[in-house]
Each structure stands twice: as structure tokens, then as C-alpha cells.
Symmetry: D2
């Protein structure tokens, strides 16, 4: 694998898919990975048509993930796919992931991990037993300035962390879009495909993951109010949550799909004894750091900014002033995962301290959080411990 | 009173006071009010020294509010003060207000209203029985673009309101400043002078008042987590609250004095079925309005912006591009109150639909909220109805 | 004068005036000055009606500045006005200022100084010979963060200054407003009342003054292109200018009244060998400072921000997070001028290093700049030395 | 070419190159193009080492562009490269471009076009005579919101355009970086490799191109002041220019490499009779539009924003709230060029009204502007007509 691109197969992501196209852009960017096959749809003809648009040969466009994984496994190394990217709706995460791992393929999987907490534990077991690289695309931790934030908190500069606020307001589901046939809205609001939580499962898990990643802390207790604001919707479309972290810090998480007019305004703020930091996805190339009593500093992404941490610098592609964005953050996960895959192929480990990416632990915690949120709400907004086993 | 300035006496606000100086700047600005006397301190010599700096004659600088109110009441109309401004710490709100009202003087009072909910009800009774003008300086509702926000919500443009988020992060008490002799920190963290809540009482009440003012809704239920983050502090310095409003909307209120690096970043967001709005005190001359699926509009304060509501326009002093600020917002309360005082003196009512200011209802609700916050926290963060009688 | 407010008379600023009202708000704010008389209009009945609204007695509302100055001069000290504020259009600056000074009254005058450069030199002579305090309201230098910028440049932190960019875009004259009877537009576009330059005289002089104040440099040469963009307008409504400064730095000045959609977006940027700074009037409480290779720092106005210079701190009224604005900047000129007036009355000097305000030198330079701009344009956009005598 | 990726060869962009790496990222993103060969360096061993890192076979890594173009031309269609990307310093633009075109390869070339105006005319002739697709990477016109700006101006919404301001401040050459061996600084400040202008040639041409693209106008006259601010530097590092456009509008262009603290703050503002727009590269996903007397609107990039023009929508990859950046803008040029290459291969034309990219006309104008800037400065900052033949 040393002197060639990593060969990737994809499950899901056929014509009309949003996140599948994003995964491919992200996988393309750095020239480390090439798409060689796919089971883009459960309808064979759609899968083939989708693959044709991607310049894939007909025989590598499969009619099911099962067919793809099993067939590819029989091809010789260097011809067969090396890794599998899984970008289906939530209810089709567990089985293809299990199968791919069992057949020896490292997997990069769209979040949330799966459908139930039980599945999560099983996946964890499989990953541990196979020892294969596994990545979960919690995209937002791929941003260079999020990594800078994590590095600064970890360095102790801000002092002991006292409070973590994270919010993820969106407005796109302010109308009952699922009734109009919009594909993205339809599966996300459908408990059969999305799971037991809508808004929290879709974006609240991103917010929680970001809060934990930046702060270096773990959520231990939650008190949640999941709400279904739009009449007739089947899942929650708004979530307000009180958090407790393992070092005693407290936090607040707010996620919403009915905050009319909001795009995707994920923001995290971490307050320590000595200083505070703020990062917002819509101004993703800046990190605002304020030490108590001092002017706010605007740290900027850019490979030439020597004041940045190694972790941040390793995830910048261009000098400051050349904005990087969502696709580059996503591509960092693919690129860093590709380093792990190459290292694994050679029997080693990649340098995860600078080329990190989210994995199975993030996925298990996400599923546990979904369970806790729903249960806390059902019990009348009470405190619950996060159950991880 | 028609052809002269309104004559004002002040209780509190002696040398070293922060809010007393602010009240005087606000009262000065529009040339409607002149300071004629004061009981600036309970120490007569400090009161006199403070008054001398303000060019007041020695004999109008009193050693106690009681002396001031009683003496002034004996002076002839046109010489005696017309109104009383009370700017003392919370525990010295009730008695001077009661006395001033009983002696026939309209009162403008710093928030929160008083020390206990019982006092609040008594003040309400006195105000109702005397029929005298009364203002409570919830400053932030004095900003033109807050008034614009209120007018737009009231007009129905945003549709039914579904969610109200208000936050008020400060960082100045991230250190235990009260130990260093800082006057502002000392009384605010002292239950004997501040009351049963620190952070919520000081700034959470502002946030709640702003949320209600802008949304036109009333908080009916709360679930609160007041925290004392800095070790050894006697009152809460951080508050996270889930809210329920009278129209079924839900909300989130976060107030903090330990959010290191934050100045005074009061922000309110209101989301309706059709659109959302956002206003932040640190960018106070702008109001951001986004109708579902449309570009965000930045509405700007300015007396020449014909697209603004009458309510907003009546509270602008200069054309757009000439930033107004905190003192102008504060001055709007004084100016609008002065219109009410003049109208009252002539047996009428001022045009409160454009020259509005916060009053006793805001004060009573603030005290009820403080009680509910403390009780909800003590009971383990449970839902409580707001009790208003 | 020690134990009382300074008594002020006003020339101009009658009903319907914009800048007269602003001057009064500014003079009111700090409680150092009281308005005691005025010649608010050349029509005696308008002057009296205007004064009545300001609670002035009929006999102190004069029908002409001449009457006011001569009559007040005969009143006893402590009753008569102490200073004169002149807020008339440009063509009525010179004569009242001369007369007031000759009668011994310190003058605070709206900019630009006067109508011709000859008048400017005469005023300078009068001010020097009388030794009286004199202030010119170049408002924008009254902002705390402009003062901070000046202090930082002066300290040498930024290294030798290499480039100064100043811009002042407005859009309000994008239409031919003067045809619609708008008072503010009418006199500003009329060469008989405004002088030989419209846009540059009105706002370009502010921009140039700001550039010199912040950089501590003096403009020595200009190459200008004044344009009349709106057809039929009698004066320039747009100005682009190349500048040369006395230390060899170069600069760019752009002022416009036809930049559609702009409010009052005065911005100055100063670049030195080691760092650069940026300040914009529409975000006036922040100063952005970037040292080469370092994160941008956002310095904030606020009396509690110990990192600010003495010059900035002396011109803040409230703590950080409480926005101050245009009126406070204006009031700083009035307040600082009042300190100079008090000191002069006692035979001394005020502490101009922290309580500074613009004066006659600024005014003379402004008039010289107007002459140079017009001449450079007429000669086909050529370089001209600034002539100061 | 229909059912496969377009095969690309690259000239320049070996190890240590900045812009070569950027070109490859841009070419990778959309999966339309694959790199198959390169002459990455004039040193064969560096070329081979660079190619190896890109997973290219040794035999396709050439020691010179000549070798590459001539050898590849002999390979069969489908194996040989289809297009050439040229990313060398300016003095190595003309010859490889000529040769590639002569051998029948479409070219995508880094800007500025070449070294002298004569070369520019020759390239234009070759392009016209061969009829081959040609793209020049004026990256900034690839941003969706720049395209939106162009579409809005073209639609007439803003009325007749009166003024265009464009600025491009950078600070990275505030120090004499070329003395420290920094590769990027060295060639850019070297007249033998960069041409007769440093700052204007490097970034001023981008600014001028952006101004023309957005406004739809053409620069006809210039008065320029190019300056060499850093002592001992061989080329200009700062440029201030007065512009005249073909419809009578005037403009201002400022480009600088010594504006300490600035990153890459390219900004364009266009003012028409009815409205104005502003776009800044560091906030690239927003376009600010203000119609006279109305609130500013913030239009946002995003494939789901139905209010955007077809031209903008065709150049967005993800929904609003997912920031795109510099690489995506760059990739739009590659992707749109790839559409033109495919269409050309089939004897047609691509839909340039939505999939546009800069070409030879932009390049010729850029070279003419460089000549005019240098000559205007040498003659003492005088007006010159732009000479295009």
C-alpha cells in the first residue's frame, strides 16, 4: 500500500445523497485515497448509475453492501478495496460495519455509530478483537482551530475547567419539511431510520462530542429536555440539556432544528480558572482566547502561524488568510484515518497525537448519551448518570 | 414643572459608587432633569463631599435618606425635589422607596426591586394606592434595537414564538474578588446586602426581564441550577435555567459571573414559526432578523432609518452610524420616566407605547423569579411554577 | 467657577438642527456644563421658541450672536455665560468666534474651522493673542480607543509608521437629497454655506484629522481626486486622496457621500514596522492590534481594563462591556474642554496629556487641506505641498 | 474522455512548493481530474522524488516540461495526459504554455499570465489559433459569493455602478523575508523571476481582476503609486491606484505586502445608484448587500439557498452553514475548466454562464495593468490609458 493510493469502497451515497457526496469530496481532497467500488444503493440500477457518474466500472458497482464486501474480499490485495466508507442512514450502520470488519476491512463510518446501545457495544467488541482501524466522522473535531482549542485546554493554560457551553442551532426543520418529500428531512425525522432521537441524535451528539473533545472532559450526568416543537413530528426537534463533567465542571448543551433562521451555528465555549475560549463553526478559522483581564486574542488557522500547537498545524493545509472549511475538516478525518490505515498495514501505529480522528469510544458515548437524553426527558427532566456498559 | 427641568434627589451613589455615577450621567443626558439634592451616603461627611463634587449646596446634601425625604417634603414646589432616584445596594431599596412614595415623590429605582418577595408586594401596593410614577432601571430594555425586537415580535411577523434563549455571561468574578476589598464585588456576593441570590439576582433578573420584554411572553415555570463555582463564595455565581413560557414556548437562560474573559455579553434570541431575531448588548446598535429561507437582515439603530418601528425611533437620538450605547439606553429610562412624571403632574398619562420603561410588574416578577430559582436548585433542579402572590 | 457648573451660551442649534442638539447632549452628559443662554437662530422668534424647549428664560434667548455676546459680556461673572458653543453652518463660524474671543469668552466650535484659509489664520492669531481656551469638535478623536491607538503608536510599540489608511464612506447623498428640501443636505452641498469643498470639507477633514491624531504624523503632500458623482450637485461628493506624511510614510484617504448603503463607517488603519492597528467607528469600543506574526488582539474600552493607556482610561466612563458611543466621544471634548476652561480661570493649564481635545492647529490644517484638495483636483490630480501659512 | 477522469500533467509544484500543492488539492476535490505525470522540478531527481510522494510511476516524472510535453504527446489517447497544469514562477509561464498548446494540450496556468506584455499577446494568438481551452487561476473569482455579487450587479439591481473599491492588504513581507531564504518571498521579490512589479504583479492583479469581474466593468485609466517600503527590496511591495472604468465610474485599488498584521484581506465594494455590495475573502461565505435606505442583507453561500443566482448556486458544493473556502474556490476553476475540456473533446462548449473561469482576456489585461502601473509611477503618478495591443 506504500506506493499507491488507498482503495476505498463506499456503502450508501448514491444519487441524491448529501452526506455521501461530502464523504467523497473529503476522501478525494488529499490524493491519499481513491474510490474503487461501491454499493451506493440497495437498488442495483441506482448503484450502477451512481457509480458510472463517478467513473467506476460497472462490475465494481454492487447491488448490496453484502455483495460488495464479500466479492471484494475475494480479490487480490492491491486490486480489492482496502477500506470501506459507510454513509447510509443510521439504521444501516451496524450490519455493514460488522461485516466489513469481520472480512478484515478498516471502516470509516458516518455518525451516529448505530441504532441501539447494544449494537454499539457489539461494534466496540468487534473493533477491539480485530484490531482494525475505525473512524467515526464527527466532522467538527477535524477543524484546525478546534484542535488548537483542545491543545490549549490540555496544556493547562486556561487553568482548571469550570464550565463548558455548547450549542448547535439549526432552523431548517422549522417547517414540517418531511411532509414535502425532502429526503434529508424524511429519514432524519423517522424513528425507524434515525433511531429514538431526532435532533439530539443528529446534531446533539456532534455538540456533545465537540464539548468533550475540546475540554478533554467526559460527561457523567445529564438532565435533558427533548422537545418536539413542530406539531405531528415523530421525533424531538429541539434539546436543552444540563451537563455534569467528570472533573466537577458543569455545562449546558442546546441543540435545535427549529431555531428559525439559523444555519449550522455550532459553537463551543470553555471557561477555565484563568481564561476562556470560544469557537464557532461559522467562523471556523478563528479561535478566540481571553485570559482573565487581558484583551481577547484571535488565533487564526494557517500553516504559517508558528504560535499554533503542533496538533493544529498538522491539520492546516494552507497559510493564514486562505479560509479552510467544512470539507477540509472532513478531509482531515479521512486523511488522518488514511495514515492509520497505512501504519496498520505495516504493523505500526500512526502519530495520533497530531493526526487524530474520532473512533469507537466517541461512538459508544454518543449512543449512551442518546439513551440518557430520552430517558431523562421521559422521566420529567431528571438527572441521570451516563451508562457506558 | 412645565417650563423647568425636573428636580431630582438621589439616595446612594456617593464617592466610589459605580451605578450611582451611571444614574447621574443617564439623568443628565437629555437636559430634562437636574440633580438638586442627595443622601449619597449614610456617612454625612461622605454625603456632603460627594454632593460638593456635583456642585450641590451643602444644605442639600443629607446624612440619610430619611432626612432628605422628610426635609425636602417641607420645601415649596419648584424648590423641593420632584422625584427620587434610589441607587443603593439591594437591602436599602425597600424602605427609602416606601418613604418617598408615601411622601408623594415618584421614584426611579435600581434593580432588583428589593430584598424579599414580601417587600415587593408591599411596594406594589404602595405604588398602586398612591398612583405615583415608578421606574425600575432594567437598563437593557432601554436600547432602541431591543425595542425594535419587541415591536417586531408583537407585530406577528415572526409567527408564533416557539423558543427564547437568553444568556448573560460575565467573567469578572472568576477570581474571588470580594476578598480583595473590591466594593462592587463585596456587596454583590454578600447575602446580607444582595439577597438570597448572587448571580441570578444581579444579572439573571436582567436576562429574564429582557426575554420577557422582547418576546412579549411571561415565564410560568422554571427548572434552575444555581451554582457557586468559586470556592468559599457565599452566593451563586452561575445559573443555568430551563424556562417555560405562557404560550407554550420553551426557553433557556444562562447567566454567569465566572465565564472567564466575558465582559457583559447579554444576548437574546427569539425564534418564531416564520423567523428569528438576535440581539447582543455588545453590538447593541444592530438587530439581526432572519425570515425562514431568507438572508439575514441587519437592522440598525438611527433616527433616520424609516424602516424602524415607532417604538424604536422614539428611543434613538442620532442618525444611523453614530453609535449609541449603554448610557443612552439608561438615559431612555430616565427620559421616558420624566415624560411620565410631567404627564402625571398635569393629571395625565404619557405615551407609554413609545416612551415605555420598566416598572413595578417587572420588579415583582424579578423577585418571584429569584425565589423560584433558589427553591428549584435547593430541591435538586426540579420544575416549579412561578408564584406571583 | 470652582464650585459651580460652567455656564454656556450657544450660537445656532435651533429647532430642526441636528448638530446643535448633539452638542447639547454632549455638554449635558457629565454635569460640568449648563446651558444658560443662546442665539439659536437668526430669527428671534425661532431662537426664543428653541430656548423655551430647553427651559431657558425668554430674556436669555437672543436674536443674534452679536446681541448675545455683547449683552452677556455686560452681566456679572457667575451670572453671565462663561463659554460659547458655536454650531452654525460653516459660513457663520468665523465672525461669532472672533467676537466671542474678543469679548473674553472661550469658544468650542463645530468643524471645519471656518470658510477660508485666511479666516483660519486670523482666528489662530486671535486665539494666540487672547490666550483663551479653544476647542474644535473633531468628534472622532474623542473615542477612548482612538486615544488608545494614539498612545500605542506614540509609545513606539508598532515601530516606525509606514502606512496610514483612512476611509470615511457614507451613502446618504447617493440621491440628490438637497432637491427635496432636506436641511442637512441643503447646506452641506451649497458652496455659499459649506465652502469650496462638500464631501472633503464635511467628512474628509474628519478623516485626515483622525489619521494625523492616531499616527502622530503630519500630512505634507497630497494628490487628490475630488469628484461630483451625482449629476447637478454643486460640490464634490466623493474624494480619493494619496497622502505623504512628514516621516516619509505614505497614506490613502477615501471619503464619500455616495457609497450607497454605508452609514458612517469611518475607519483608520496604521501599519508600522512591528505591528498594525485598526479602528472603526461602527465598532468603536474595540481596537484591533496585530504584532507581526502574532494573533490579533482586541483591546476594549472600559474603565476597568488595566491594560489600557492612561490617555484611554481617562476618557472611559463605564466598565468594559457597557458600550460607549458617539455622544460619549463628543462629550469627552466638552468635558476635557471644561477642564481647560476651569484651569484657565484659575490661571493654570489642564492635564492635556490625558484630557486632550482638538484645537486651532487642527482647524488651520483642515482649512489648508481643503485648499490643497481642491487645487490638486483642478490641476488634474497632481501632487501639492500642504501650505500652512 | 466521457467515462473516465481527465488526466493531468503538472509543470512545477515540486517539494516545498506552496501553490503547486494548492493546485493539486483543487484538482483532486471533485474527482473529475487525476494527476498522471509531472515535470515537478528542473532537477530530475527532485521531480522524481516529488512524483513518488504523489504515487506517480517513476517514468511519468519528467526532468523538464519539454520532455514531459513531448513525450506525453507521443502516448496514445487515454493513456497520455489530457491537460497541463502550469504552476511555476512567472518567468517560466510563457514557454511551457506555448509548447503545451502547440502540442494540443489545454492549459490551466497560475497567474499572472506571463512575464511581458508581448508574451501575453503571443499566448493570446496561440490560444485563439488552436481553439484550445485555457484557464488562468485568478482564484478569488471562484468563490460562490463573488459570483453572486457579479450576478447581482449584472442584473441591474444596484443601478448604474458609480464606484468600485478594492483592497488587498497583506503583511507577510513587512520584514525583508527574502534575505532569510524563504522560497516564497525570494522569487516574488526578484525581478528576474517575478517580472517588473512585485506587489502589484502578485496581488494587485488579483484585486483588479476581482474588481472587473464583480462590477462587469473594465478599467480604462490608472494613476498609480507603487512603493518599495522595505529598504533594499528590489520590487514594489505596496501599491495605491486611482482607477477609471469604462462606464465613467471611478475606483480605488490598494494592494500591500507590508501592511503588518494583515493576512490576506482581499475586499471589494461596489456602489451603484440604488445599492451597494461588499465581499471580503476572510468572510468569504457571506455577501453584504445594502439597498439605499434598507437594512443590510447578509446573503450566504449554500446550495440550498434558493435566493441565490444560478451562477452562485452552480458553484456551491454544500448547504449553507458548512463553510467553503479557498480550496473550494480554486477547485471551482479546475472543475469548471474540466467541463470545458470535456465539452471541447466532444466538439462543443460548456455552459460558461454558470461554470465560468478566468481566461486569456483576464491574463492580457493583467499584463497591461502591470505595465501601466509601473509607467505611471515612473512618470510621477500620472494618469495613463490602459494599452491592450
Amino acid at each position: 500500500m506504500k506506493d499507491r493510493k488507498i482503495r476505498m469502497g463506499m456503502v450508501g451515497g448514491g444519487q441524491g445523497s448529501f452526506i455521501g457526496a461530502v464523504h467523497r469530496l473529503a476522501a478525494n481532497l488529499d490524493g491519499q485515497i481513491e474510490l474503487v467500488c461501491g454499493a451506493f444503493s440497495s437498488k442495483p440500477e441506482v448503484s450502477k448509475a451512481s457509480g458510472a457518474e463517478l467513473f467506476l466500472p460497472d462490475e465494481r458497482c454492487y447491488g448490496s453492501y453484502k455483495e460488495m464486501i464479500e466479492t471484494e474480499a475475494t480479490l487480490p490485495e492491491g486490486e480489492r478495496m482496502d477500506i470501506v466508507s459507510i454513509v447510509t442512514p443510521n439504521h444501516v450502520h451496524f450490519e455493514p460495519t460488522q461485516l466489513a470488519l469481520e472480512k478484515g476491512f478498516p471502516v470509516i463510518l458516518d455518525k451516529p455509530l448505530c441504532f441501539t446501545f447494544d449494537e454499539a457495544l457489539k461494534l466496540k467488541e468487534t473493533i477491539q478483537s480485530t484490531g482494525l482501524p475505525f473512524a467515526l466522522t464527527h466532522t467538527y473535531t477535524g477543524y484546525p482551530m478546534v484542535k488548537q482549542a483542545r491543545a490549549m485546554v490540555a496544556s493547562g493554560e486556561l487553568g482548571k475547567i469550570r464550565k463548558v457551553n455548547v450549542e448547535y442551532p439549526q432552523g431548517w426543520l422549522a417547517e414540517k419539511l418531511e411532509d414535502s418529500g425532502a429526503k434529508q428531512a424524511a429519514w432524519r425525522t423517522d424513528p425507524k431510520r434515525s433511531g429514538k432521537s431526532g435532533c439530539f441524535g443528529d446534531i446533539g451528539t456532534h455538540a456533545a462530542n465537540l464539548a468533550e473533545y475540546v475540554s478533554g472532559l467526559k460527561i457523567t450526568k445529564v438532565l435533558s429536555r427533548l422537545s418536539t416543537v413542530v406539531e405531528g413530528r415523530l421525533l424531538d426537534d429541539d434539546a436543552d440539556v444540563l451537563l455534569q463533567f467528570d472533573n466537577g465542571a458543569h455545562g449546558l448543551l442546546s441543540a435545535s432544528q427549529i431555531s428559525t433562521g439559523e444555519e449550522n451555528a455550532l459553537k463551543v465555549r470553555v471557561y477555565g480558572e484563568k481564561g476562556g475560549i470560544e469557537w464557532c463553526q461559522e467562523d471556523n478559522n478563528s479561535l478566540y482566547v481571553t485570559m482573565h483581564g487581558q484583551p481577547t486574542q484571535q488565533l487564526r488557522a494557517g500553516g504559517n502561524n508558528a504560535y499554533l500547537s503542533d496538533l493544529a498545524l498538522a491539520n492546516c493545509r494552507v497559510p493564514a488568510g486562505h479560509p479552510e472549511g467544512y470539507l477540509e475538516a472532513f478531509a482531515n478525518i479521512y486523511r488522518n484515518f488514511s495514515f492509520a490505515v497505512r501504519a496498520h498495514a505495516e504493523g505500526g501505529k500512526s502519530d495520533m497525537h497530531i493526526h487524530d480522528f474520532p473512533g469507537i469510544e466517541d461512538g459508544v458515548r454518543g449512543m449512551a448519551l442518546i439513551d440518557a437524553m430520552v430517558e431523562s426527558t421521559e422521566k420529567g427532566n431528571v438527572w441521570l448518570d451516563l451508562k457506558l456498559s
